[in-house]
């Protein structure tokens, strides 16, 4: 048996005394198997005599191959030394019908199943979000009556993360958006010789719509996602459960500070974004349209009504509420594993941006109706 040491596993298939004999040789171990499994699969015929006397070492995978061949083709195993025999017995004992893959459902059923679960899920999310909003209101009411429970430190910390840290990227984005509006507007308006109206375009669209909308999208991507991921990981690590048992309400300690911070920061960021967009547009006007800054500012004050600013300041906190609510809600829904944290984070951002845009459309109609053109 030692002669076959450290050699590649192989077998010979011969006819001896009216019986097919499979004679295994070498080491029946995973690194030395090579093409042996494929050769065994291609083997035809039944009732083999399986001779293991030439086998050096064997691991469970080698034993499994021998055992399977014997089982499927009605073979008889001979020439196994005691250690090989124990191994074969162990493998035989472990040979039980085991489910390895989940049952694939029928295709038609699967479509219905997915459609149904998606609908149910959507309904659940809506109800859950409403419930979460309600829980938040209750919590706000509680904090209102017990002002000491208000976690001012946590809120201030969130101010920094949600607001101050976002200044750079939101400024840059708004500046570029301002330039793009100015440039695109100038090209179109030039055809009518109305280039000077570029200022109206920049001022009104930045303050009314783009400043706050772009900010909302950026905040959803930066902060909404991080809320979902943070709270999701905390739920996985049972931190949220631990909090509850200590008597700290996760709503007060985790959710409210984030919502407060976002609601308060959104108007500031939105206003800042609008101003930077106007500066970007102004610089473009100065350079390409020869409108000097003084004229630009003067004209801006003439054409932009104050109601535009009110619109920004009304919409921004609402968007902030939606973004933070969606982020915290999705984070708190995490139950099982790390993958879910990722999925929930994505959902939080998608939900937030979608809801923001839908609400923005409602606001547009509403403000037009009340005469804030």
């Amino acid at each position: 048996m030692n002669a076959a040491m450290s050699s590649v596993a192989r077998f010979t298939d011969t006819q001896e005394e009216g019986r097919r004999v499979l004679r295994f040789q070498g080491d029946l171990t995973l690194p030395r198997l090579g093409v042996l499994p494929n050769r065994l699969d291609r083997l035809k015929g039944r009732d083999f005599l399986i001779d293991l006397s030439g086998v050096g070492r064997m691991d469970t995978i080698g034993a499994w191959l021998v055992h399977r061949t014997a089982r499927e083709r009605g073979g008889e195993i001979v020439g196994a030394d005691p250690s090989l025999t124990t191994l074969l017995q162990q493998v035989e004992k472990a040979d039980q019908p085991v489910k390895v893959r989940p049952d694939p459902p029928a295709p038609f059923q699967r479509v219905l199943d997915q459609l149904g679960s998606a609908t149910v899920e959507a309904g659940r999310t809506f109800v859950g979000l409403l419930g979460f909003f309600g829980a938040m209101l209750i919590s706000i009411g509680f904090v209102f009556r017990h002002p000491r429970r208000f976690r001012i430190n946590a809120v201030v910390q969130r101010f920094e993360v949600v607001g101050v840290h976002a200044f750079g990227i939101i400024g840059l984005m708004s500046f570029l958006v301002g330039i793009v509006i100015a440039q695109q507007g100038a090209v179109q308006l030039r055809q009518f010789g109305a280039e000077v109206f570029t200022v109206n375009l920049i001022g009104r669209s930045s303050i009314k719509e783009l400043g706050v909308l772009m900010t909302a999208i950026m905040v959803a991507g930066r902060s909404g996602s991080s809320f979902a991921a943070q709270l999701g990981s905390m739920k996985l690590a049972e931190e949220v459960d631990a909090m509850r048992t200590i008597g700290v309400s996760p709503m007060e300690a985790l959710v409210l500070p984030r919502i407060f911070a976002t609601v308060l920061m959104m108007p500031l960021l939105g206003f800042y974004a609008a101003i930077v967009a106007i500066i970007g547009g102004g610089i473009f006007c100065w350079i390409s349209l020869d409108i000097p800054p003084v004229t630009f500012v003067q004209r801006m004050r003439e054409v932009v009504p104050r109601t535009d600013l009110w619109q920004l300041l009304i919409k921004a906190p609402v968007f902030g509420l939606i973004i933070s609510l969606a982020g915290c809600f999705q984070g708190m829904q995490v139950k099982s594993d790390a993958e879910e944290v990722g999925l929930r984070t994505t959902t939080a951002v998608v939900q937030a941006i979608f809801l923001v845009i839908v609400l923005d459309a409602f606001f547009a109609v509403f403000f037009t109706e009340i005469g804030w053109l």
Binding site: T29, L30, P31, L33, V35, P37, N38, D41, R57, D59, T60, I61, W64, L65, R68, S83, T86, L87, Q90, V91, K93, A94, D95, Q96, P97, V98, K99, V100, R101, P102, S336, D337, A338, E339
Partner: protein
Amino acid sequence: MSGEDEIVIEVHGLSNSFGEAVIHDGLDLEVKRGEILGVVGGSGTGKSVMMRSIIGLQRPDAGEVRVFGEPMLDRDESELQGIRKRWGILFQGAALFSTLTVAENVQVPLREFYPRLSEKLLDEIAAYKIVMVGLSPDAGPKFPAELSGGMRKRAGIARALALDPELLFLDEPTAGLDPIGAAAFDQLIVDLRERLGLTVFLITHDLDTLYTICDRVAVLADKKVIAVGTIPELLALDHEWIQEYFRGPRGRAAEEAMEAEAEARTAEANGGTER
């Protein structure tokens, strides 16, 4: 087969530190082929860090680590792959891949190192490994999040055993298991050692495990391995921590249980299957 006292893991002068905190300072350890070596030490003495240094997840500040006689430090990835094929590791939290089913988890090392195995054989291997480690036959298509802690540990060991390794690293395998589960796990490790000639490097706090399955125990204290030996040998040493560890109320209970079991075993008197 291999020589009698072949050294599988050899650690020499290992030093580790995290910033100011020195974890190991000139640590030496040898693990012989075919033995189950238990590693004990107080919390924070760097048991897991030692394991991570041996398997190459933690770069030590100084020292030499050899596994299967091959140096582990400053090696190419491709050279290390050859060694990684020959060991299996069970991490403390089982570290199953959460996006894969149990069966797929078991198949990961097989697919990685032996891409030519057929799907059918992969499924069969996953199936018998799942049974071998004592998981229920319907555990295959389940995701780790659906399993209990003990089941996760078993799935983790099934993955560690996927390649039929020669060397098995276990980081607190019985922590968090109920006594029945822990005893079954101990038995599983002994079975595997006898069946496959495994060498086992076992970090544990479980005194029952130490008494029932470990051939030798290494004690980590004062940034070094202060003693290696069988439990009677360790008990003969006059070291405060060792005495407290094994002579404490829990240590004594485990010792008594082990003695009772040894008596029962001699009464049965069936021949050993040691090779």
